[in-house]
Subunit: 139 residues, 2 copies
């Protein structure tokens, strides 16, 4: 039976999952990119090299993250969180978030992990401040 | 090493994958929903019950489909295809596409499979006519 997830179930899936699909609007059309992320306190932390998604989100900060967990055709959960792009510029918050990302994704390349060591890098660390989230699942 | 996929590799991933993430624009913001689909002749066929994504795509037909295949952190491929929403209304094309969808996704519920038998249903069958596709991968 397909039914809505409650807020606790929705947050649980956002906390458990490691990969999500980040959506943004580029020149009036949709754009999606898979990302690793950390979810903490209704904020989604993501790091990125400069490029299309960061340019797009700077121009239009409306973003969403879709996450799912599919066991099989009859047992699955899917969540979408909507919010706004905020670049993380505070040194303390950057270092905290990079440590969390590295702990979860130790395969981050040395270039991507630089901010942990010196706080300087071309890596962009941003967060999506979640304003609304909904989930649905079948079990 | 991360590199662009060529057109053949990009089409191959779109053909192999079963689940993708459909992106559209809802009230100026991004929206993503996981979908099963069939890719044929640069068209992506998707069926849906009426709802938010169909309403959105009727209002703004710009769509994208993102598909990936992640073996592990160092072996993955990801593709995004951009195109336009077109509702499939021709009976012959509807029946052909529903048969292909059912052959690939036999768990479709009886309600969803009705169009195969009588051509009448509230199920919406649409396609994304792909105008641009790009892929990237690491191996």
């Amino acid at each position: 039976m397909i039914s809505a997830l409650n807020q606790e179930e929705t947050r649980a899936l956002l906390s458990e999952a490691r990969t999500g699909r980040l959506g943004c609007v580029v020149a009036g059309g949709p754009y999606i990119v898979p990302v690793n992320y950390v979810f903490h306190d209704d904020r989604i932390y993501i790091h990125s090299l400069p490029g299309r998604k960061v340019d797009a989100l700077r121009a239009n900060p409306r973003a969403c993250l879709q996450v799912d967990d599919v066991q099989d055709a009859y047992h699955w959960r899917s969540v979408i969180a909507f919010g706004r792009y905020e670049e993380v510029t505070d040194d303390g918050e950057r270092q905290w978030a990079m440590r969390r990302l590295l702990a979860r994704f130790p395969h981050l390349t040395p270039v991507e992990s630089v901010p942990v060591h010196d706080g300087q890098s071309s890596v962009i660390l941003f967060r999506i401040d979640v304003e609304e989230m909904t989930g649905v699942g079948e079990k």
